[in-house]
């Protein structure tokens, strides 16, 4: 089974937005943005820029005919800043010119005077000042206050996780083309075509039916193009509408990094209580989410943090409080895992700290507290078909955890400066948009008279293999060869009111919708077969590998003949179907309900080696048992798992987003922001598909895959940390991620050991990555 379009991809024939034909008269846009984190715009002088050779127009907030508003969940973000700026990188003007170079050069001539205000970058400070995006959110189960008295051990601590740059290999971009009647056709690299359509219509003050959005495919999204692809498309649409010329905006890499939000950094406090046996009785946690300057998707991300604050464990008494804090940084946004990883990091930290205090291994606490069938999550849902223990135990056995642990211990006894660490990382991740209404999708299926099939859905292909999966589904329903099926670009005129391709739900929702549309056609075909063959019971008609069977017997009809017959009999060979996940709901006020269709389970065992003289490390191996359900496409699923693991490890280890004291992004190129390359990806990665794991809630019993494995990467942090502990058992280490080489070194060798090093670099004083100010 091959991945979709792979032959095109290896020939360089696949068209991404920037590769599409260049329409006649195409102009290029360049975004001029704020270099001040917070302030009042005193004046904007465009005269010089407008005079620059080749410039066709410069647009500011004043040129917007409709509403200058791009906020999705909360209307709190303008497309172009008019009166004030709230972060460095906020768009102020769009310069449009004959060439990319002219547009960029002219933007340097814009004279924008900004009166600087004090800025806040630390979420805890923002919270103190009452700068919250939404009111605080609280999830609770049982009664923590009563539970503390029953605890033998109560352990408290603080954690920090940093941001993460999406670094989709294709940068953000869009082309807007004016069409007749005041309409605009937009080609956009977005995970969310309807958001692009809706916002562009709002900006231009036209009905949505005048805006057509087409998404050929994405060179990676990872959440970074769910909300944050919209602005560039809307800007292109604005300019195209004003100038009545096609306009292309492709963000150069550095601008992409400077202008788009990242994974939300979090600063958190935990308090965990356990009995003598290591059962967790109570857990209290407070999350300070760094939302940046606007809501974007942060409120929904905050919810997912709360949903995943207990990871794969049953804890009877939980109180989780979360603040979405407004700071003067880029509005942060969705990133694979969507707040879940940030929540899981804290509970894993709490367990590790508790284990240190109790003098046992974290693994023991993890093992004892795994979710069982029927256990209640803090949001009221109970586990169904729970596979937490199965995955955990199978990983232990399959990868011989005991033996590996002994080996690591022995290695550490024999080696002084190089130490190894091993850790287990269970994951339980809920599948569905936690905003219930978003769990819907549609599909449009055409069967052509030659028997070939073309399918449109709301799903955007971005490397996650959704097109491959939908082809599999359609070929299964019709029982035809997969080569007959083509999946179309995602287009708002074919599929309206799309939910974003996100939350790992692309294949589930759109797969079901495609399945239903195919089934509608199949029903008609069965009737046609009866008419052709003069049989009377369509229920007895079956297609097996392109041959038509009746009551188990092969008939002379084939797929091709049947399609021809249906066409001649004037039977419709097209169908549109809609799918909505049933039986899910969530009461936001009470913070209780059944928000997820199902959960994905799995366990990873991770080993790392740390050079304790240099602070460098290697992730030696990641070995996983993962619950894929009945995989629809094992190649795609394995690739997704491996890719997510590497990305998760990157987030925990080498990927560090840094801003200077003024809120300016310092890591705005690949030279300063490191992502895993072929050498730093773990040498030994094994992903075992949990057997006998059908999922009644997924198409053909499959499970979603995009996000859950990312969280195995959290184990890399603890594996490294365990190796460090072996080197300095006497020291108490922080829970600050990413645990870069520098941080490892500075942790192992506190400042006083360095004669020439300033004490303010001591790890104990390292400023929180949530504040991201160094």
């Amino acid at each position: 089974m091959k991945t979709y379009d792979s032959i095109q991809h290896v020939r360089g024939e696949s068209k991404f937005v920037d590769d599409l034909f260049n329409p006649e008269g195409l102009l290029y846009g360049y975004v001029y943005y704020s270099s001040i984190a917070h302030g009042k715009i005193v004046s904007i002088n465009l005269k010089k820029a407008l005079k620059y050779a080749g410039v066709r127009g410069v647009f500011t907030a004043e040129d917007i005919p409709g509403e200058n508003q791009i906020g999705g969940i909360v209307p709190d973000e303008v497309l172009l800043a008019g009166s004030k700026v709230d972060f460095i990188g906020q768009p102020i003007a769009l310069v449009v010119a004959d060439t990319k170079l002219a547009a960029k050069s002219a933007s340097k001539l814009i004279d924008c005077k900004i009166e600087e205000y004090p800025a806040v970058f630390d979420p805890r400070i923002a919270c103190e000042k009452g700068e919250l995006i939404i009111p605080p959110r609280i999830f609770s189960l049982g009664d923590v206050n009563n539970a503390w008295s029953q605890c033998e051990y109560i352990v408290e601590g603080k954690t920090e996780t940093g941001g993460q740059e999406h670094l989709y290999i294709e940068t953000q971009g869009a082309v807007a083309i004016p069409v007749e009647g005041g309409g605009i056709k937009i080609y956009s690299s977005t995970q969310n075509p309807t958001a692009v359509q809706k916002v562009s219509a709002r900006i231009l003050n036209v009905p949505m039916h005048k805006i057509e959005v087409d998404v050929p495919r994405l060179g990676g999204g990872f959440g970074g193009k769910e909300d944050q692809a919209t602005a560039w498309a809307a800007l292109a649409a604005l300019a195209a509408s004003k100038l009545q010329r096609p306009v292309k905006i492709i963000l150069p890499r550095q601008e992409d990094m400077r202008l788009t939000g990242k994974r939300n950094p979090y600063s958190s406090d935990f308090k965990i209580g356990l009995n003598k046996e290591g059962m967790i009785l109570a857990y209290e946690v407070t999350f300070y989410q760094n939302a940046g300057a606007a809501a974007d998707l942060s409120p929904a991300i905050l919810d997912r943090t709360l949903f995943h604050c207990t990871n794969s464990y049953y804890i009877p008494n939980v109180k989780a409080t979360a603040y979405s804090c407004r700071t003067n940084l880029l509005p942060n946004t969705a990133f694979r895992g969507f707040g879940g990883p940030q929540g899981m990091f804290v509970i894993e930290s709490a367990i590790n700290r508790a284990a240190e205090v109790m003098g046992i291994s974290a693994h023991e606490i993890q093992r004892k507290n795994l979710l069982k069938e029927g256990d209640e999550f803090p949001y009221g849902q109970r586990t169904e078909h729970c596979r937490a223990i199965r995955c955990f135990e199978e990983a232990e056995q399959r990868y011989d955890f005991k033996m590996r642990k002994n080996y690591v211990e022995q290695f550490n006894q024999e080696n002084k400066l190089v130490k190894k660490g091993i850790t287990v990382m269970p994951v339980c991740f809920g599948i569905s948009f936690t905003t219930t209404f978003m769990n819907q999708a549609s599909a449009l299926v055409h069967v052509y008279t030659d028997g070939s099939v073309r399918i449109s859905t709301a799903a955007v292909e971005m490397g996650q293999g959704v097109n491959a999966k939908i082809s599999v589904i359609a070929s299964k329903v019709f029982s035809i060869d997969i080569s007959r099926i083509k999946i179309d670009s995602t287009n708002t005129t074919r599929i309206a009111n799309t939910s974003p391709t996100a939350a790992s739900k692309g294949a589930d929702l759109n797969g079901y919708a495609a399945m239903k549309a195919c089934e509608l056609i199949l029903e008609r075909l069965k009737k046609t077969a009866c008419n052709e063959l003069k049989f009377d019971d369509p229920k007895k008609v079956e297609i097996r590998e392109e041959h038509i069977f009746y009551d188990g017997n092969r008939t002379p009809l084939t797929w091709n003949k049947l399609i021809q017959a249906a066409y001649l009999r004037r039977v419709s060979l097209s169908a549109h179907a809609h799918h909505a996940t049933t039986d899910i709901y969530f009461d936001k006020e009470k913070a209780k309900g059944k928000p997820f269709a199902y959960h994905v389970y799995g366990t990873a065992i991770i080993e790392a080696t740390v050079d304790c003289l240099r602070g460098t490390y290697k992730i030696d191996s990641v070995k996983v048992v993962h619950d894929f359900g009945s995989s629809l496409h094992s190649v795609v699923d394995r690739g997704q798992a491996e890719g997510a693991i590497v990305q998760g490890i990157g987030w925990m280890t080498i990927e560090e987003v840094m801003f200077d004291g003024k809120g300016k992004l310092m890591t705005d190129a690949l030279s300063t922001y490191k992502v895993p390359d072929i050498q730093s990806a773990p040498k030994d990665m094994e992903v075992h598909f949990l057997e006998d794991a059908a999922n009644p809630f997924g198409p053909f019993n499959s499970k979603a895959i995009g996000e859950p494995p990312l969280m195995y990467g959290i184990g890399a942090f603890f594996a490294i940390r365990n190796a460090m502990k072996a080197f300095r058992p006497e020291r108490q280490f922080d829970f600050v991620a990413p645990i870069t080489n520098e941080r490892v070194l500075l942790t192992l060798y506190p400042a006083e050991r360095f004669s020439g090093m300033k004490p303010d670099l001591a790890i104990d004083d390292v400023k929180t990555p949530a504040a991201l100010v160094y």
């Binding site: 991945t3 991404f16 690739g639 890719g643 072929i678």
Partner: protein, 205 residues
Amino acid sequence: MSEETKSNKFSRRKFVKGIGSSIAGGYILSPAIAKAAKKISKEAKDFSEGKVPLSLKVNESVINVMIEPRTTLAELLRDELKLTGTKVVCNHGECGGCTVLLNNKAVYSCHLLALDAAGKDVTTIEGLSSNGKLHKIQQAFVDEDGLQCGFCTPGQVMAAAALLYKYSKPDKQQIMKEMSGNLCRCAAYPNIIKSVLSAVEKSNG
């Protein structure tokens, strides 16, 4: 050497000489640095805005074009020749997305002036297969699924093709080293390694 190549060489020399003499002038007359610098930038600008002829071979075809001297090879390929298979990802020589072959060696086309390819042979992803048949490294990427979103793929494939030119029997270490200049954010690395290994095996077996 063809006529075009010669004239092109001449142009490059003139460009370099023009800048060099201005810099020298600036050094000697230090009080006049500012003025000299202005002159340099004006000269450089005048020059760079004019177009110069360039001749090179791209995917076996001889190409004669007039380009601005500052044009990168990637810009020439994508913008002028419409060979959009080559991707520009960072434009800073940091990711390998724009890798093409220059006389069968891998180069970052975003980091090379088109003029530096004068008289040379450029192979892009579009030119790798012959007569519609996939090159063995392309076939290996398909067979081993060495890709996810496909955006880094042309660069990966070209880097791997160059590797096969460089070594007849590369070992895993050499493969890792040669491929390490190509980032894949989908992290399809395990299958990328498998793809290259399988192509190596096939070419030796």
